[in-house]
Amino acid sequence: MAGSQWELPPELCCRPMAFVALTGLDVVYNAVHRAIWDSFCANRRADRVPISFKVLPGDHEYPKCRTKRTSYEWYIPKGILKTGWMNKHLNLVPALVVLFYELDWDDPQWKEKQSECATKVEIVRTSLQSRNTKVAVVLIQKKTPLPPGEDLVASERASALCNACDLSGKSLFVLPHTDHLVGYIIRLENAFYEHAQTYYYTEIRRVKSHKEFLNKTTHQLLFVRHQFKIAFFSELKQDTQNALKYYKTAYSLIHELRAHETNMLEIKTMAGFINYKICRLCFQHNTPLDAIAQFRKHIDLCKKKIGSAELAFEHAAWMSKQFQSFGELFDEAIKLGLTAIQTQNPGFYYQQAACYSQDRKQLAQQLCQSGTSYPSPDPLDTQSGVLDFYGQRPWRQGHQSIDPPDAEKEKTGILALQIKERGVPHSELIIALLSNAVAQFKKYKCPRMKSHLMVQMGEEYYHAKDYTKALKLLDYVMCDYRTERWWGLLTAILTTALRCAYLMASVKDYIIYCMELLGRASTLKEGQKSRIEKNLIKVLMNEVPDAEPECDPSSVSSARSLWNDRMALAGLNEFTIEVQDYIPFIQCKAKFHSPSFHVDQPIQLQVFLRADCPHPVTFNKLAVSLSNQEYNQWCVVESSGQESMSLLPGKTKCYNFSFVAKTEDVGKKIEVSHVMLGSVRGRCVFLSWRGAGGDAASTHEALQASRSSRRWGRGIEMRQELDWDSLTVQQSTMIISRVPKISVQLSHQPPALNNEMYCICLTIQSQEESVAKDVKLTAGLKPGQDATLGQTTHVTLDGSKVCDDTAPALLPDVPLGDLKPGEKLERCVCVRCVSTGSRVFLFHVAYSIDTSVEGQQIVCKCHKDETVTIETVVPFEVSVKFVSTKFEPLERIAVDIPFLLMTDILSSSPWPLLLASSSLQLLTMTSNTPQLQSQLQEVVLQTGECASECFCLRCPPLTSSINTVATGQYLISWKRYSATADSPLIQTTITLPHIMLETVPLYIHADLPSFGRVRESLPVRYHIENRTALVQEVEMAVEPSDAFMFSGLKQVRLRILPGSEQQILYNYYPLMAGYQTLPQLNISLPRCPTTNSHTLRRFLPHRIFVKPQGRQLDDASIAAA
């Protein structure tokens, strides 16, 4: 392959390792030897010493050493570095030759074997001649050796062997062939490694020693050569720091060489080699910045060293290779853990390499035109088939003077190179480099760089005539440039793509690219657009288009025949092109007149078309597909026969469609799913816009138009001309039901009262011109409110009785019959709200009606909704209290002693309430009065008024010892005062509170008149009842009082049997008028000390009203009156 001329030699690119030759091993037939050899070469990981081993026969001929030069005085070097040198020291001249020999210390034939071994060593020595290569002997033994010093025979025989073989003791090794082979081998190779290092050290010293013989005028090449050699030996010695130092010296020396056309290639080649080594070592030392700096320096120094102008492509090839190999080194370092960044990654070097390869291609195309036949004899042939020195011309090897020795030879040589260059697959090289770069840029987040390189790849494929691949790549990136709106670049890519499509005769691609190149995003000049449009029209007419400019003439003629074939095929003539993602030359925007239409209105749809190309465009068919396919038939324009519709450049054309929606579609959306524009002449091409038109660029344009300040400046006079950019697409429309022409009115008296049958009257009046049929009412709680409201709200149509909990919250579809025009209908709905709070009620009146739209009879369903929010409040508040017969509030009730229950009803309703009746349902308690009668019958309560009731009750003695009892319920029947007579009464039940009970041992009460009179006797009888099961002893005393005189027992002590009663009578004689405290009765129970006089006195009246003494009415005065 011709490109390989520029490849770096493998011996340069590998990591130099000490070369050690192993002899005396029979790895084919001897299993023991085989095992030894395998241990040497298997598992050579990084922790093993860097040695490359080779098995050689004992009598192997090593490269001969040239006789040492004693003087350099007359020596003129022929080149910088011999091509074989690196390989020689890597693979041919060992640093150490190791002779393996099977010999145990106690071998019976020791003498013979010793001399045989010595002979073998001698053979090796001879073949190495004057080289400094070390020789070592390894004895393969069957027995494990004793520790050193213990085996006297061994040490004695070892020194004898060393003497016989002329070896130092350090060069004799023993390898026991036992279990731990690998361990022994590793120890052996470490010893070998030391020997090898010594060898390379002496080699370095040897090369350095030449320096003093050199002079600067004639031996400049040798300075470079020696530094290179020292560096290389240092590398073999694994002394990379020094190697780097010497390579750097070599590099600076090489640029001191006198450069001229004849040796330019040699200098550049060697500079490239040394630069490679330096960069490689810098990366290895983890100093990537040094590597980059060195490479930059190298490029800057060599960029201008073009050399022979006729072979300028060689320079480009070399430059390309420099960048490529640096990129590879960089990439390799990254694989070993180096981190690269976006702006400094191998991609840039691959890209630059590709760039130079492109230059190379161009230069080759310019320079390699002449010369048809390859010169003979081949000037590039050398006797050995290879060059002696790197970078020299085969026809004048070793020649170092400024002018070429033979001008004629030089000419044929250059010609041969030029002709050879013609055969180089440049595009392939460029594409390979570009794709390397693409991979790198992808990794380092450079999408645009990646796209750019892909464009270059596409272009290169185009040049290489691989149009399919070119189009694939270009198509892929076009989209990126389109979304980023870089029209200039998009146009350039499209132009290349169009050429590819033309040369491939790919009709559909050709049409697509033409379309976009004619579109508004294209930056082409008017003239070019015009030419493209003419071509497009030709293709549409099924004719062969004209060739694209700048196409290779030979490709054009083959393309033309391809087109002719294509045209002949009739079958492939129909295309549908989805233009949504392009920026085609025809713009389309579809628009419903309104975002919603009533079902009794015709739906109006407009399609706007506009051509951006320089010449008018004609088409035959415009069709809109809608989400409901049934409407599609109404949205087609098709020109009949020869006349076709046309679009003028820059003018907007509008097509109107109108159709009637189906009544089933009420509540549904109609969407434009496609707009198709077709031309059916010769070739059938449909442009199809997904959705309602618009393309890759229109969103942005619409946004810009909406921001534009210019829009405001345009007055009404501009209205005639539609502003295309501010036209907005309306892709879908909603079909909504017809506007109802009925009125629904509600009358009611809010707020609703808790539990009442709240009446809402509905008045429906028709304003339709024909009969409204199937009028249906849905009334009740509007769905979607709090879920608990549904359970606490009941709706019924029957207002005559209180509905129960089974009544629903929403009454659906109550049929109301038909409604004639102007007719009025009333309906009452009763609502019972069990809980307070606000509720939203819905009244939905639906009906159907016959109507006509554009002559079509349709049945429309209409409905009218009314909602009302109603607050529910409590009608009244009831409070209950227990009091004693003295109207003192009670905390506990004494068993079997009468008390009072008092109820207060406070109206909180804004409307007057009629309390029909009230009643008590007693539990435990009994009434103290013969019959309980409501005191509230037919009472009317206004807002804020209060009605009270009082009941005298008694708690019968209880057997159980419960001290809290339920008292029962209080029932109130009521309704609104304004309600009609037949409206039902509402029962409200109030649960009476629980009350605590107590028992009293002694019940003392008194019989006394309701009032007394001054100086009139007032008899009071005290009843003392024993409520216990014991005989009670009672002490009683009456305290004196200022207001009363009295007669009776002042102090008494009596006994009362269980369950019986004693009576004591006093006669009080009031002395003062007004409220007077009665004489206090002191009672004590000596047997029951816990009850004091105070608790016993509780039931006794405290005071009494004493009337003043009336004037004595004598009979005379009566008579006078």
């Binding site: 450079c446 709106r485 942005h700 300040s709 210019r710």
Partner: protein
């Protein structure tokens, strides 16, 4: 002096791009476009450490063999890109900065024009003049 000056919208499409007429215009378009990779990366890197005042001048974006590309991003994410010849070593960082500042001032003037619709390509003679002053004079 610059060989190419470009103004790029927030959405990364060109608002203005001008290069010396002697060379391949398309190549500059590609150079400017690819430099946006680095600009985007730099902007997003700043966004992560919120709070610190962002320096508008982004410095050298990336060096190519032939050109140096410098970037500048306004607070409204409009990008300025200046391409100079690699061989032009006399230009210092400070001079590039002042070029950007001049460009920014002129751009602000363009935006202040009530008849300019932000987002539309820049068609201003004054701006053109400023740019011409910064370009390499050929001819």
């Amino acid at each position: 002096m610059a060989v190419c000056i470009a103004v790029i919208a927030k959405q990364n499409y060109p608002l203005y791009i001008r290069s010396v007429p002697t060379q391949n215009e398309l190549k500059f378009h590609y150079t400017v476009h690819t430099s946006l990779d680095v600009v985007e990366e730099k902007i997003s890197a700043v966004g992560k450490s919120l709070g610190d005042q962002r320096e508008l001048y982004l410095g050298l974006l990336y060096p190519t063999e032939d050109y140096k590309v410098y970037g500048y991003v306004t607070n409204s994410k409009v990008k300025f890109v200046i391409v100079v010849d690699s061989s032009n070593t006399s230009l210092r960082d400070n001079e590039i900065r002042s070029m950007f500042r001049k460009l920014h001032n002129s751009f602000t003037d363009v935006m202040c024009n009530p008849f300019h619709n932000p987002g539309d390509p820049i068609q201003s003679k004054t701006f053109d003049g400023i740019v011409s002053g910064m370009m390499v004079q050929t001819g």
